[in-house]
Symmetry: D2
Subunit: 338 residues, 4 copies
Amino acid sequence: MIVVLDGSAREGEIAEVEKRIRNFGYDVYRSSGENSTVLGALGPAREDVRDALGTMPSVERVILASPPFMLVSRAFKQERSVFTVGDVEIGSGKVVLMAGPCAVEDRESYLQAAVAVKEGGAHLLRGGAFKPRSSPYSFQGLGEEGLKIMAEAKEMTGLPFITEVLDQHAVDIVARYADIIQVGTRNMQNFELLKELGQIGKPVLVKRGMSATIEEWLMAAEYLLSNGNHRVILCERGIRTFETTYTRNTLDLCAVPIVKELSHLPVFVDPSHGTGKWKWVPPMCLAAVAAGADGLLVEVHPAPKKALCDGPQSLVPEKFAQMVDLLKGVAQVVGRTM
Amino acid sequence: MIVVLDGSAREGEIAEVEKRIRNFGYDVYRSSGENSTVLGALGPAREDVRDALGTMPSVERVILASPPFMLVSRAFKQERSVFTVGDVEIGSGKVVLMAGPCAVEDRESYLQAAVAVKEGGAHLLRGGAFKPRSSPYSFQGLGEEGLKIMAEAKEMTGLPFITEVLDQHAVDIVARYADIIQVGTRNMQNFELLKELGQIGKPVLVKRGMSATIEEWLMAAEYLLSNGNHRVILCERGIRTFETTYTRNTLDLCAVPIVKELSHLPVFVDPSHGTGKWKWVPPMCLAAVAAGADGLLVEVHPAPKKALCDGPQSLVPEKFAQMVDLLKGVAQVVGRTM
Amino acid sequence: MIVVLDGSAREGEIAEVEKRIRNFGYDVYRSSGENSTVLGALGPAREDVRDALGTMPSVERVILASPPFMLVSRAFKQERSVFTVGDVEIGSGKVVLMAGPCAVEDRESYLQAAVAVKEGGAHLLRGGAFKPRSSPYSFQGLGEEGLKIMAEAKEMTGLPFITEVLDQHAVDIVARYADIIQVGTRNMQNFELLKELGQIGKPVLVKRGMSATIEEWLMAAEYLLSNGNHRVILCERGIRTFETTYTRNTLDLCAVPIVKELSHLPVFVDPSHGTGKWKWVPPMCLAAVAAGADGLLVEVHPAPKKALCDGPQSLVPEKFAQMVDLLKGVAQVVGRTM
Amino acid sequence: MIVVLDGSAREGEIAEVEKRIRNFGYDVYRSSGENSTVLGALGPAREDVRDALGTMPSVERVILASPPFMLVSRAFKQERSVFTVGDVEIGSGKVVLMAGPCAVEDRESYLQAAVAVKEGGAHLLRGGAFKPRSSPYSFQGLGEEGLKIMAEAKEMTGLPFITEVLDQHAVDIVARYADIIQVGTRNMQNFELLKELGQIGKPVLVKRGMSATIEEWLMAAEYLLSNGNHRVILCERGIRTFETTYTRNTLDLCAVPIVKELSHLPVFVDPSHGTGKWKWVPPMCLAAVAAGADGLLVEVHPAPKKALCDGPQSLVPEKFAQMVDLLKGVAQVVGRTM
């Protein structure tokens, strides 16, 4: 339930309402906006509680939030969530570019890729140290060694980096190195992992599950917020459909305006996984920004044919840089910068 | 099979090759490009035929076209197909806007809508006289009366119009009035209707079936071309997926660059049906143009709440006009005009 | 809306209610069951009409039918629909087997197949004279010649036959020969074809569209019933999903009990198209009967490797006969005969 | 790669081949069948290795296994995998029934349910102590308390039990109590959890991911086998499709015969989650056994309306017992017992 307080409510009155809510057995979360304070009561919606709270003088109204998500909703927080990672603002008017190879394969090629994507216009680096692979026999990533290489690339380029965590036992080590932690599509409903990531001090990017409804995706983010982590990015990466010949997934770009209407969280798009082929990445990046995306996650590899993972969907650095020029134009048309 | 002739081949030599192909039992279709002539041999690919033709002096090479479509492919015709409807060029560098209400409901409101979309920037009118409805009890359209009203709107605004045909018995009458004939998503594999539309002198827009693969969609167009009609537009309109709460369909914008790579035919997008909600139409229109669409099909209704059909997905004229301004900006960024 | 009359209502009173409904602008359809009469008012549900009719003495209650289908629903007709085709009862306790090659390819092989499936236990023959093919270059069927061959096979075996119609112009000719007319998956929402088939005197089998919801499928049948044809069979034939490697479609067997709960019409299953591979046909036939199917549509071909169409999903006659033995056992367990 | 040894190969020769394979950098796994021994070489397929091994006298042939799975395949192990849990044989000719409430809610009701399903004919108990829930605010299970209650029910009834593990940190504790550990649909590609479960001494049931292809599902099992756990059950539980009105998922029963053709592992079906409604559970259980399923996982709750989780899909014990009678009949028809 969401309890909207009167704009004139003072701290003492707010605390009073919070106490009352807690007495009903709810956890309470507070969102202080410009004009008013909103309290989220975590737990099942009850009409008697709504009526009881509604009679308190500082309470303007109580919403029995009908969608199952609450803390991520714009009913709870009207203003868009903005936060910074290093020098990069996420969720503001500036479109953010995260780029790099799918996996960290070796020190030299990763550093080379990092320099290239920086020159091409990227704001953050991406790369995988722990790779989720359908087959137990495929390359599973370099592990901590990969994290160290990314840390070195960060030092060299000044760009913060994002990387994925798969393993509950690896949350601490990944959080020690990474600036943003990624939850992959296969772990979007790994609720225990989400709970742990709700309790770390690093931002988390949650990819949409490949067959997740928009509601389930927002609920995954709700796990993070309700466990205390409010620096969350949502990332559309294509859903599974019957079209399997020409694309790996069907990129659902309409999810961008929908999620921005439902939630205050920033929404990114990953057209590399969303299409599975480098040729479709530039048009889908342009389309994503035109549709209102707050940022992009793009696979760039200096030598895609040698890549151990996802080569066919990786852009070469030159194509990436060319695309960035066009992206700036589209961003400007829709009132953003880049 | 596709037979690419030597650039220096003269008419007599070309006719010789055509005759040889016919002798093997194939129908032959000729595509004359700037630098060379290409012959399409309609029928099953045979290696012995390829080898026999390959020895002819004017034959450069023979392609055992692996995808099942041929006349629609860029292997057969490298240059993009461009044709005009009234004063409007379709498939050229100019992005084309077709707009209007879902159905023609009455004379007055349709004429009002037609004027409004023209002022908003539309190049063609759209409207339904025959409506495909899931329920036999829903409004099925005004029939010929609706066609007459659209003809009047055309006269008044100077804009040509597109309308759908459902009924094989109505092909003649629709073709008499309409400038472009639409094949709806439910009829994309109504092969008998396609065969008849292959033999009329009007351009045809083929919507993608709601569960059609890209290949099946191109094959539907192949029915039109192989029956003699080469003025064909392909229109993405959303596919059916598990996400049914927030959108009516999932708009597959990646189909735009894919189809433009595979085929020389112009590709349009219909974000009104593709999303099912007017709010998502402007961002998806912007995204479609950014992705390279040659045109858009947009539902606009002066009073969506009173619409007999698809009101929730119709823009009001003011929103349409605002959107067009932004579309021009995006078109320019990707090297198009509008 | 559905108007349930009092069990004691006499003809004069029933006619009175019908008249009143017509005065409100509805078409009326009557269903006379064992214990009571039910009237269907075709048109939009209106609460004022419900209230007005509800006050009439012979009216027990008025249902503002919430699902969009009415004549096909069990709210309108509680008893299961049973009808005969030749000597074969459809929709009764007896499981009905329709079998034969996908297409009629030539006289000799079809007659051979017809004799074989009869010996194997089939009650009706199947075969295509007009074939819907994704490609304009694929074998499209023998046309009327094919119908004549099936008629000859019928004479020879004594088994009635089912065949598909694609073309509105061919409805009359197909209806002249066939005992049951099939509407294929691609034409399930070819509403003009459905309207015409609603007005002929032959039973119609409606295959589920490959991406049709259960509701849309029932609405397609509603087109037939509301146009006057009540001898309708529904046939599940697999839906389109992301699994495209091992099966052509995903057979939705749960649709069988669901549709039998929602509708009084008989429900058949076509595991040949539903799976796309002959190996999976026997287990899926057994499963379909276990799930309550009223009949099966099975492709059987004496020489599948030579088939012009759908060879990989056709059983050889010996496998068909072996399967029938097991089917009889399952039918018995679930209280049916065969 | 799969190395099939000559039937007459002696231990020394087998060890020689194993050594040679290891020298090429592969891990080796041995499968000793009745007539011959098969060696699996874990790693990328290489033609030069195949040729080198092929010349060894005790090697019959080397298969560059084309599907990505190996240890789970019937190419590697022809005989069906059979193992016992308590007194229950899994994967043999006997159809196995696992039944019970979705979640363990309290001691009394669980013990009551356990007794009821035993009387109804179940061979194992099921119940959730740790529940994966889309919402962080839904009941998440009783944790270890729930495991203790299930252990008590096991003692009381003599039936072993299966329960789900979600949390890598809880693997040890769940393995201490449970007889079979379940990996849920949302964790099918939680590869770190799979690796850990590959190293415990308890059988694992792997539910199919709700959008997993058959190949991905088998690859998930491959993670277990390649990590050392060969007592694995595969469980179909419905996939996600566009049909969302009448069922929660679309049960893909054709997966049963397909997986039994591809793999030697036992295949179960869960029609409770597969349909989402108790009414469709009995027909789908009958269909599953008819299709060849080795067992069923069924939700049974003494008072479904009071259930904290999945009440609408739970059978009451009487319906369960009635269904078991019919299941025995179907099992017999297809050559099984129960």
